[in-house]
């Protein structure tokens, strides 16, 4: 007996790759910017740190001036969105199976990571705009040429901390990610060389190998001296490479 003809199904096709990544980046960026908790960590807290340290500098010289503080706070903000924010959001997405679902759509794993990175860059653009404006208002005067370097360093830092954040989110439970990401962000911001420069002698020299210290040094090098700090950039690249390799080995979708 002849088998009946299969009906002609139109072949489902994916949207173009760049459209998928762009759509997902904007989708995630909108979600982040509408999330009160994320805004608090990404924008409000860094803004309070900037204003607080500026006021403290007026009282004591122990706290450096705005030209040192502003790039440090920018580094803190980059870590907030690229590391803590991305890790926590991704950790809970993984727990709820959202990552697994999205991995089965045309977005796929690569598109998902690129989309998340784009979303982080969108949020960082808002952070740079708001915190930079506040810094200028408080008297920050970065080297004009250094601002270009600063953007490059911020993108490098965002890539490194996003890779670290995704590694954390993809390997431990969401609740543990929440706790670890927040604690690591506070420690790296307060004592890891991001906001305030570290002493370069003794133990301080070892701490310079931290990604937070490298980011802080690189952003300060760009905005204060108008130079590209090569060693901190290499340190950031090494952390990014290590995180990507570790994520390839241990990251799981659910």
């Amino acid at each position: 007996m002849n088998q009946p003809e299969a009906p002609t199904l139109p072949r489902s096709r994916p949207a173009a790759a760049h459209r998928r990544v762009l759509a997902h980046g904007l989708y995630e960026a909108r979600l982040t910017l509408r999330n009160g908790e994320q805004l608090l960590v990404s924008l409000i807290l860094p803004l309070l740190v900037l204003i607080g340290l500026h006021r403290a500098h007026a009282v004591t010289d122990i706290v450096p001036g705005i030209d040192t503080i502003a790039p440090g706070v920018l580094s803190l903000a980059v870590m907030a969105s690229a590391f803590a924010g991305a890790a926590i959001a991704t950790g809970f997405e993984r727990q709820y199976g959202v990552l697994a679902y999205l991995a089965t759509t045309p977005l796929g794993a690569t598109g998902l990571i690129l989309g998340k990175s784009l979303a982080v860059l969108c949020v960082i653009a808002v952070q740079v705009l708001v915190l930079g404006s506040a810094g200028f208002f408080l008297g920050w005067s970065p080297e004009p040429l250094g601002i270009i370097w600063m953007f490059g360093v911020v993108i490098m830092g965002a890539a490194t901390f996003t890779a670290l954040g995704l590694l954390l989110a993809g390997t431990v439970r969401a609740e543990a990610t929440l706790a670890l990401a927040n604690v690591a962000w506070v420690l790296m911001g307060a004592a890891g060389g991001a906001v305030l420069p570290l002493e370069h002698d003794g133990a301080g020299a070892l701490l310079l190998a931290l990604p937070s210290a490298a980011l802080g040094e690189a952003v300060r090098g760009a905005t204060m001296e108008g130079r590209l700090a090569v060693v901190p950039i290499l340190i950031l690249a090494a952390w990014a490479l290590a995180a990507i390799l570790a994520a390839r080995k241990w990251f799981t979708w659910k």
């Binding site: 009906p7 096709r13 994916p14 989708y27 709820y96 959202v98 679902y101 977005l107």
Partner: protein, 323 residues
Amino acid sequence: MAVSFSVACLRLANVRYAVGTASSARGVTEILSGVDLTARRGEVTVIIGPNGAGKTTTLSCAQGLLRPSAGSVQLLGQDPYRAGADLRARVGVMLQDGGLPQSVKPRTLLTHVAKLHRDPWPLEDLVDRLDLSAFLGTAIRRLSGGQKQRVALAAALIGSPELVFLDEPSAGLDPQSRQLVFDLIDHLRSSGIGIVLTTHLLEEAQHLADAVYILKDGVVVRHGTVSELTGIGEEPHSHTAARRLCFASPRALTRTELEDAPYPLELDSDANRAGARWGVPAIASPADLTALARWWERSGLFPAEISFEARTLEDVFWEVSSP
């Protein structure tokens, strides 16, 4: 009943999946021990089995979320684990836990996923078919379990897939919502879309399935159409050419009598008392009836009523899944 298009859209051949390593404390645990399965376009392929049988792992291997330790998976002719966006656009997936972002509204999610496809299913049509309109603007975390299920189903279908995986699609649904989902599955089937679903609801499986695979301990222990499995069809398998016998006991049965019964008995009534109805799942020959009659004689029982019923998928399931 659906037309059988006989075009395989999914083939699993001797698929094995293990977790752990020989050097780890727990050693290697094999979740799938050689699963063979074929799903066809325009058919509903139902995978059933007890908890831990490997249903979701089978689906995850088929969807490309897990890489089998051995064996091969062909999804629309490609290896799903290595496949790109072109293949993923042709497949819809509804995960067991939904896979829905909790803070997002259904309309936002569905609109976003539609943008990942070139020719998505019109959102408003999907909203109508699944009756989503009342909660499209409510954050997913505030929805009931049944509403979330319907959103997850819509998310699986928004790309107009050629094959759709549905892991427990009717879990937590009220009867009206379940009927909506059944109607949609019927529509998908008649459109020539392949559907692979898992369920714990055997009545649902019996109603929907064109092909049934029963998994136990990581292997397919039985498969076929519902008719083939229950022995009701035109060409019953010899080992399942059976009927279910029911009898009403004139009194409560003692533990010794139940242990002495030649076949496992299922209590169809709410309590073991006088007048209770008991079922014997697989009466396949006169010899079975003789054995049963001898047990009645030994026990001094004369059933008040005896009847035969068609075996159901549930009877087959209990038969193969009992230890």
